[in-house]
């Protein structure tokens, strides 16, 4: 090709001087991306590359705008930017900080919402009890026909559950379902909190209605015996997840940051930490519900001790005391 002018010749020379450096970038970037722990030499090399590439990109944007060369340099620059700005990982320290500091701080911030959501749940349960006590036929809207027939024959649906499904599998099914319900109660908070109110109310309504229905057939005691070991924590966790969902809704209604998007994102980042603990607690609930709750050999007092004990553990975890957080003196 003929060199049509000095500027083009200069461009050719600059391109020629840089081309080998650019060509060598891809394998270096790949190795930096794959590595989890970088040495100081790696970091220094990456920063040096970042500066050099920044200079080249700046020139390329000016003299070769909208070309593939510039786009490829931009892509490599963006990758290097992401690598350099990646936050350092210290899993042990960050996990400890999460459970000791961050989750208790979120719980503290959410304490009012937790109380309101728990109240809503309790009121819904009372409403469910009243509705089914007053209009018994309404149970058909809330429970399956099989469940209703069983109770009318004097048997709870939980009585022979272990004969049908092994405890281990029952636990996995239950804990998965509970986690999904809690996550749903949280996520639907995105509909300005209304979705969360609906899920909490419906769960409360169903609980109250089913207790009323079993009470009418003299089985409320048996149902309470089944529920007591896992119910305290399970219901508390659903209320906590609901409170987290309410916070999401509130972040959209009353933004705490410049934009609703930013406010929503910050609220999600904050509350999702709490959900992690909720999921862990529900795993414990699932195992209790699979192994202990349906086992008729467990006496009521043992179930009560397990239920209250696990609830105390939950409070310890939510306040961070379980993970070594010390009470701050006043």
């Amino acid at each position: 090709m003929s060199a049509s002018g000095g500027s083009e010749f200069g461009l050719q020379a600059w391109f020629a001087s840089r081309v080998e450096t650019w060509r060598g970038l891809a394998p270096i970037l790949q190795s930096l991306e794959r590595k989890h722990r970088h040495s100081p030499a790696d970091a220094a090399k990456a920063i040096e590359m970042y500066r050099a590439l920044g200079r080249d990109l700046s020139i390329a944007r000016r003299i070769l705008p909208d070309t593939r060369t510039t786009q490829a340099l931009e892509q490599r620059f963006a990758k290097l930017h992401a690598l350099i700005y990646r936050k350092p990982h210290d899993w042990r320290a960050s996990t400890l900080t999460l459970f000791r500091e961050e989750i208790p701080a979120v719980v503290h911030e959410l304490r009012t919402a937790i109380l309101w959501v728990s109240l809503l749940f309790a009121l819904s349960a009372a409403a469910g009890w009243w509705l089914v006590s007053t209009y018994p036929e309404l149970i058909g809207l809330l429970a399956s026909e099989e469940m209703i027939n069983g109770v009318e024959r004097g048997r709870l649906w939980t009585d022979d559950i272990l004969n049908v499904v092994p405890s281990s599998l029952l636990s996995i099914g239950i804990l998965t379902n509970n986690i999904v319900v809690s996550l749903m109660a949280f996520c639907v908070g995105v509909f300005f909190g209304l979705g969360t109110f609906y899920i909490i109310s419906m769960n409360g309504l169903m609980l109250g209605a089913i207790f009323a229905f079993t009470h009418q057939h003299g089985l409320a005691g048996s149902l309470a015996k089944f529920v007591v070991a896992h119910g305290f924590v399970e219901l508390s966790v659903i209320c906590i997840a609901g409170a987290a969902g309410v916070m999401l809704g509130e972040s959209l209604i009353r933004p705490t940051h410049a934009t609703r998007r930013e406010s929503f994102q910050k609220a999600t980042a904050k509350t999702s930490r709490l959900l992690l603990l909720c999921a862990l607690l529900l795993i414990g609930c699932g195992f209790i519900e699979g192994y202990i709750s349906p086992n008729p050999d467990f006496p009521m007092i043992n179930r009560l001790v397990i239920g209250i004990g696990y609830w105390v553990v939950m409070v310890g975890a939510l306040t961070g005391r379980l993970f070594g957080k010390r009470r701050v003196g006043v």
Partner: protein, 248 residues
């Protein structure tokens, strides 16, 4: 239409521009991932069932044959593969999945960084909402109507789906090779464009453009000498100028 961009400031003073992927690239990546996920799931289910029962026809198996071991070794992992495919691969592959890689997109934070495991988990939890009422209707609507083409999971996690096209890597390598042959970046760009559009151009048009371009790039050639060559020869001459493009 050009893809929207997000511009990030860096300490070098040179801003980082990321091109945001739209609904098309996002759906393309999802469909590929969905197929991979389905194949893996079915392979595990049928492979495991065959090892346990010597047949893959579930209907022929007696219900009591489904032991705890079968449920734990076959059924639970099958469900885990299906439901945990996205979160696990996105975390392990730093914001990518096989589908995203093929579609040439990746996830980044709004600061251009690689998203944290927490952000990726949040993004996936919100699939519960994005998937409503069916076929990701909420998510797709959100992607179409938001300026940065994000679904609710991305809004919650603070992530963006940006282009990370490997095609540019190939063309970049070809441009570097072209430089060694004395071709300027602008000329290499023109040759690449022509090769890229070769099949879509009409025969007389591509011949005319190829002859003019080759004559301008090589002083020893003239348009008159080139018009006698076959289209395949012209195509070969262009490809020799840009070795390693991968274009056919």
């Amino acid at each position: 239409m050009n893809a929207p961009e997000v511009t990030l400031q860096s300490v070098t003073g040179v801003d980082v521009r990321l091109r945001i992927a739209g609904a098309g690239s996002r759906s393309f990546a999802f469909v590929i991932d969905w197929h991979i996920r389905l194949i893996l799931t079915l392979a595990w289910l049928f492979g495991g069932t065959f090892l346990f029962f010597g047949t893959v026809a579930l209907a022929d198996i007696d219900g009591e044959g489904f032991s705890s071991a079968y449920l734990f070794v076959v059924v639970v992992p099958t469900l885990a593969i299906y439901f945990l495919y996205h979160p696990i691969l996105e975390i392990a592959m730093h914001g990518r999945t096989p589908g995203k890689r093929i579609a040439g997109v990746r996830l980044v934070t709004r600061e251009g960084d690689i998203p944290s495991a927490g952000a990726l988990l949040v993004r996936n939890v919100f699939r519960l909402i994005d998937a409503l009422p069916a076929a990701y209707l909420v998510g797709l609507t959100s992607v179409i109507f938001t300026s940065q083409h994000v679904r609710i999971g991305d809004l919650a996690a603070g992530t963006l789906l940006v282009f990370d096209n490997t095609e540019k890597e190939t063309s970049f390598e070809a441009f570097c090779n072209a430089q060694q042959q004395g071709l300027s970046p602008q000329a290499a760009e023109l040759v690449y464009e022509l090769l890229d559009r070769w099949k879509t151009l009409e025969e007389p048009q591509r011949r005319e453009i190829a002859c003019n371009l080759l004559a301008r790039l090589d002083p020893n050639l003239t348009v008159h000498s080139l018009v006698t060559e076959t289209t395949a020869d012209l195509h070969d001459r262009l490809k020799r100028l840009l070795p390693g493009t991968g274009l056919t």
